[in-house]
């Protein structure tokens, strides 16, 4: 049985209890909900990487010590980073074709041909490929034997993709900055 209240609208719900919906209640609940949502935001944000870790978003790496034909394994954001100082022959091999199952020109993968900079995680399941110079390939993944050529492009499955090129720029001839701030 509905019960008339001073200014409230009457709503009869399924179990016959009267719920009063007036502007005051609605706006209070709305405000409270909005407040809770906004209030939880700082809590969620606090789980972001802290300023200390944000600072590692980009890394400066000195490449002057990398000998011709050698690889330096550096770290960027805690991930392995391959820096290869390519010889003339290596560059020729890399430029000869567009790789295997994931074709891409070598020129799109390097800033300067003598420096090949790659993320050292296998696109298959994340192992770190081993640097092993052969006629055919330059890296072989110890986990499931994917191979990668002189440009880091996949030759042999199971890896579906080429080794990834991270964002980087040359600060000078001997130093690069990896990552985007």
């Amino acid at each position: 049985m509905p019960d008339q209240k001073d200014d409230g609208e009457i709503i009869e719900s399924a179990d016959n209890t009267q719920t009063r919906r007036d502007w005051l209640l609605i706006s209070t609940l709305t405000l409270a909900t909005a407040g809770t949502a906004v209030g939880l935001w700082p809590f969620i944000k606090s789980l972001n990487p802290s300023a200390e870790i944000q600072a590692q978003r980009t890394s400066k790496i000195d490449i002057s010590a990398v000998e011709l034909g050698e690889q330096l394994v550096a770290q960027w954001q805690g991930k392995p980073l391959f820096i290869v100082h390519r010889t003339k022959e290596m560059i020729e091999k890399a430029e000869a074709d567009d790789g295997g199952t994931d074709p891409q020109a070598d020129s799109e993968r390097v800033e300067r041909p003598e420096w090949l900079i790659l993320l050292g995680t296998c696109p298959h399941l994340g192992c770190v490929p081993r640097f092993e110079e052969t006629d055919e390939y330059l890296w072989v993944c110890p986990c499931h034997n994917s191979t990668f050529d002189y440009s880091g492009r996949v030759l042999r499955a199971p890896s579906p993709k080429n080794l990834q090129v991270p964002p980087y720029r040359f600060i000078s001839d001997t130093e690069i900055e990896v990552g985007e701030a």
Binding site: A14, P42, F43, K45, S46, N48, S50, A51, E52
Partner: protein
């Protein structure tokens, strides 16, 4: 009614297999609450609000904190400086502890004024005392974690307290510390107690506390139990009590956030901003304000073992209140002697807290001893007070005849 919405079908699916509606109606919406409760009955729900705040902020702090003496102090500074909103979360937890204690003291005091420890709520009171013990442990273990000078020396002194136990004292101290002094081992275990043991106990005991409450029902300010059949004296928990808890909770949160935003270091002694140094005690060690009364009791007794017994006794005696006070009258205001005794007890407790900030010398020492004596006398004299009050009532009854 038209075809049921999909939302209510989902609800029904749960309700068929879980007592959703039943639990909600019994414990929230339809739970009968006396209509005449005053705001003193709001502090239980406030304690729950602060429990939630402590758990939420605590989880976020635990994510960033490092429980290693070489990193602990540093990691707290990193939280405040480097973690997004860390400057908000860290003081919320620290100030939250103080508010939790404040709310708990008032909640407990309300229980004493309105005889909430008497039948049929004796077990409810005992569970409450256990919750208070957990809060004390939470406060103690948590205070060590920032690894400041005060953290370290407070923990050193309080764990040393166990050495007063005859024969096994030293063994006990080492058992508590996991080491000869407060050290890496102590920090690891206190951290574990603080973030695992304490929350589990809090949540379990809170559930039991509420279950017990809802079995026997709230008391009310008249001190006279209301018969369950007098339906017109009860309102359903929702909306009357929910609305009251909500607005009063918001009011307290306003004060809480005023501290968090405008005076986050208010309760933090300056020595806490200096990293713990096991080789140098700060000029004076004062515990957090909520331990001051207990601290004063400990220090006012010059004999080591007795002091420690008094320290634990001061909390432990709360458990015996239902046994000591057998008066059938619940409301303190209705009892001619008890009302003054209780008022004096509250003042005594606050005074002990004040003495806790002063060195226990000369007049302060004597005052501390008198105050400690009264603290225990209040409890231990309750059988006598009850007997005297019964006599007075009988005399008055005879006169009225």
């Amino acid at each position: 009614m038209a075809e049921k919405g999909s939302l209510s079908r989902v609800y029904d699916w749960f309700d068929r297999q879980l007592p959703v509606t039943e639990l909600m109606e019994n414990h929230a919406t339809k739970y009968p609450t006396p209509k005449n409760l005053t705001y003193w009955w709001n502090f239980g729900s406030l304690a729950a609000i602060f429990l939630v705040i402590q758990i939420l902020t605590g989880i976020l702090l635990a994510v960033q904190y490092k429980n290693d003496p070489t990193l602990a102090f540093d990691s707290v500074q990193r939280i405040v400086r480097d973690v997004e909103w860390g400057w908000l979360i860290q003081p919320m937890h620290a100030i939250g502890a103080s508010f939790f204690f404040l709310v708990m003291f008032i909640h407990l005091g309300r229980g004493m004024v309105y005889g909430s420890y008497k039948s049929p709520r004796a077990l409810l009171w005992l569970i409450g005392c256990a919750l208070f013990m957990v809060l004390v442990i939470a406060g103690f273990t948590g205070y060590l974690l920032p690894w400041g000078q005060m953290s370290y020396w407070a923990a050193q002194v309080i764990t040393e307290v166990f050495s007063a136990v005859p024969v096994v004292g030293q063994t006990l101290v080492e058992w508590v510390r996991g080491s000869f002094v407060v050290s890496d081992a102590t920090l690891s275990r206190m951290f574990t107690y603080h973030i695992v043991l304490v929350p589990i106990l809090f949540i379990m005991l809170t559930v039991v506390h509420i279950s017990a409450l809802h079995k026997v029902g709230s008391s009310n300010p008249t001190g006279v139990e209301i018969d369950k059949k007098e339906k017109d004296k009860f309102a359903t928990f929702h909306p009357l009590t929910t609305a009251k808890d909500a607005w009063f909770g918001l009011l307290v949160l306003m004060v809480f956030f005023a501290f968090v935003f405008f005076a986050p270091h208010y309760f933090t002694p300056v020595a806490q901003f200096i990293e713990a140094n096991p080789l140098q005690t700060p000029p004076e060690i004062v515990p957090e304000w909520y331990f001051l009364s207990m601290f004063a009791i400990l220090r006012s007794i010059p004999e080591k073992l007795l002091g420690v017994v008094a320290l634990f006794g001061s909390v432990g005696i709360l458990f015996f209140l239902p046994l000591l006070d057998r008066s059938p009258v619940k409301r303190a205001f209705s009892r001619p002697i008890f009302r003054w005794g209780l008022l004096l007890f509250f003042l005594d407790f606050i005074y002990l807290g004040y003495l806790g900030t002063k060195p226990p010398l000369g007049a302060n020492l004597v005052a501390g001893q008198i105050a400690t004596l009264y603290y225990f006398l209040f409890f231990l004299s309750l059988p006598l007070v009850t007997w005297l009050e019964a006599k007075m009532a009988a005399k008055k009854g005879a006169k009225d005849e």
